[in-house]
Amino acid sequence: MGRKLLLDKLDIPGINTFQVYRQNGGYNSVEKALKTMTPDEVTEEVKKSGLRGRGGAGFPMGMKWSFIDKKSDKPRYLVVNADESEPGTFKDRTLLDKLPHLLIEGMISASYALGANTAYIYMRGEFRWIFPKLEAAIDEAYAAGFLGKNILGTDYSLDIYVQPGGGAYICGEETALIESLEGKRGNPRIKPPFPAVSGLWGCPTVVNNVESIATVPAILNMTGDEYAKIGIGRSTGTKLISACGHINKPGVYEIEMGLPVEEFIYSDEYCGGIRNNRKLKAVVAGGSSVPILPADLILKTANGEPRLMTYESLSDGGFVSGTMLGSGGFIVMDETTCIVRNLWNFTRFYHHESCGQCSPCREGTAWMEKVLHKIESGHGKMSDIDLLVNVAKNIEGNTICPLGDAAAWPVASAIRHFREEFEYHVLNSDKVKNPKHFELEPFSPTLKPVEPQPLETVN
């Protein structure tokens, strides 16, 4: 049984209320931080913990905090990125929905460390039902004196605002989020300048993921050094994994870093094996944007070592035989899954969510989706497969924000590992039209379903 630092109190009835949360040791870290530590000591503690940003990129959080421009006389802001919309990722939803006070507790200490007197929670528009719960929790914290002016009698003040987004995936990118928070069109900004220097309203800003901030209380309570002892190497602490797909027990699990992937999929404590006793075919380990891996490569690295749930082990082998921990959206696919259809669905998502600001992503995602639609519906050509690889390569790295990469990686990896399946779709176009597939309406209005017609040249 792994240690739980975030979800340990999840099952206590009424934990979403201030009273119950406080009785169970909640807000102790705030007291500790505000009364006994200086802001720099809090930052130092987070640095020692080795906590890496849980939003996907895995950038060390203490380091990010220390980049904030403290010389500037402008106000500083903390923004919590609750725009969780990666397909397969739903870990922050659990925290926001069930443990709102954990987030608020983390935000107070984090804002204190950064010297911010205003903090924002930018929440995904689709999380509409969580909005009143979170507001209620914030009200309770105000009433109890943990928010507002002179918190706990110290001279530190903090206000927290919740801002619902409009439901755009791109607003999870930190600079697009800031633009959206300012009331503008959510287009990512060109970096540099980074938000730590010029972020919200041109002021120094730190944008952190919900889970990262919710980990701060645990770090302060147990000290950074203790926290760093959990996990392996540079992957410290615990991580929330949202497991979904063809498993017996989908849900959000807290794991200690370093858990073998095999144990995570098959043990009863976690996913509980593949449903209906089928075989594992592929896993997308960190949300739809990371490379997909076939069963043999996700359980063991190319060197034959068991693959562990850490940033390093999952990316072992680079993009040739590895993937990324990403945001922890663990999508498991059994042998009945059609990889082509799955890839079309992912690409369809990126086509829909591309902001359209820079050319490679705007045109490339649409192009890839159309070609995949053709292959999936039995009208593809062999050359289309190489075309997809090339288009993905042309998008990758040439865009303003990582959405272009996120759209390109799944395509490149799916074709690298499952090329035969794409070829099968091209060669056996009459068989691939599986009536069992529920009909997804193609997203783009210009993309009409392809009518069946005699195949020309597939020999």
């Binding site: 060109i190 540099p192 359209g356 820079c358 050319s359 045109e363 649409a366 053709k374 790295g397 993309l447």
Partner: protein
């Protein structure tokens, strides 16, 4: 000041200059193309990605190369930076990839497009485009709309450089148009058609790198290379009044602002000069306009002698080769 080396040519520029502007100070082939950056519009750039370059060495203090290609229009130089543009295959590959992306949804209706002959995308496609397309899918199309009575918006041709929205923001002060939707459905539009009525709205036509925004008073009148551009000015209470008249047989077909060799306007003109004064008598003619943009318009350069052209050409070549061919330059200079 910062020292920067671009494709082997060293130059010194003030701190805060972008790589693109440093390259423009050197001039010649090594200047990256730019479809969305516009030096006189604040905040433009970074979107089209055709100006991508490779930073081989970040700075003298931190000599590591930058991991990705960077947009030269929005990356500032550092002292000791080493950049490669046309000498790097990776850059040229990425550039042709971006040009391909720009072209897949572009209608390529150049034979009937007013912009043909002075179109940045056309020049770019000649230089970096492939001769055949790999795109077999349906292209995105939009209905043509009139925004204001003088400006035609042909969204199908748009490459979403956002320049016209910056004109709306920074010149007219009351932008009523913008980008709607997202992804490849994104379009420049107004909520209510026909409502761009500002005195400087016509400048959108000049900043548009393609034929998406065209002058309704000039549409289908003539191909630009059949017209003779003349520098002219008039006393205008609203703007500088410095324009280019595009004439044919003493008839003014079009009035536009003066563009520099990178296609950028530095003195914007008002709509009255642009649309209302189409008589030779209204203008003081200064002389023929030199269009210096690899364009067909100045093909029969009636203002530059062949010798001057040759000299300029050799001088640029010499600079590019790092002074290896000085003898030839002196020879050419002697002829003069």
């Amino acid at each position: 000041m910062a020292k920067i080396t671009i494709d082997g040519i060293e130059t010194e520029v003030p701190n805060g200059t972008t790589i693109l502007n440093a390259a423009r100070q050197i001039g010649g082939e090594i200047v990256p193309p730019a479809m969305c950056y516009y030096s006189s519009l604040k905040g433009s750039g970074g979107k089209c990605r055709v100006c991508l370059v490779k930073v081989e060495q970040g700075s003298a203090a931190d000599p590591r190369p930058m991991p990705k290609l960077v947009a030269s229009c929005s990356t500032q130089v550092q002292d000791g930076m080493v950049v490669s543009n046309i000498t790097n295959k990776e850059v040229l590959d990425a550039r042709s990839a971006v040009v391909e992306f720009l072209l897949i949804n572009h209608p390529l209706d150049c034979p009937v497009c007013d912009q043909a002959g002075e179109c940045d995308l056309q020049n770019l496609a000649y230089e970096h485009g492939a001769s055949v397309t790999r795109y077999e899918e349906e292209r995105r199309t939009f209905e043509k709309i009139d925004i204001g009575d003088k400006i035609k918006l042909h969204m199908t041709r748009c490459i979403l450089c956002y320049r016209c929205t910056y004109v709306g923001d920074q010149l007219t002060g009351e932008r009523v148009h913008g980008v709607m939707n997202r992804g490849d459905r994104a379009e420049i539009s107004t909520y209510v058609k026909n409502n761009i009525e500002n005195d400087f709205s016509g400048n959108m036509i000049d900043v548009c790198p393609v034929g998406a925004l065209t002058d309704n008073t000039f549409r289908f009148k003539s191909r630009v290379w059949f017209t003779k551009p003349l520098d002219a000015h008039r006393d205008c209470p609203k703007c500088s009044g410095k324009v280019v008249l595009w004439t044919k047989d003493q008839e003014v077909l079009r009035v536009s602002a003066r563009k520099d060799k990178y296609g950028e306007v530095h003195e914007f003109i008002c709509n009255e000069c642009r649309f209302e004064h189409k008589n030779m008598q209204d203008w003081v003619i200064e002389g023929p306009r030199h269009i210096d943009r690899g364009s067909v318009i100045s093909q029969n350069h009636y203002e530059l002698s062949d010798l001057q052209k040759l000299q300029a050409d050799v001088e640029r070549q010499v600079k590019f080769q790092g002074g290896k061919d000085l003898d030839r330059l002196n020879e050419v200079k002697k002829i003069d």
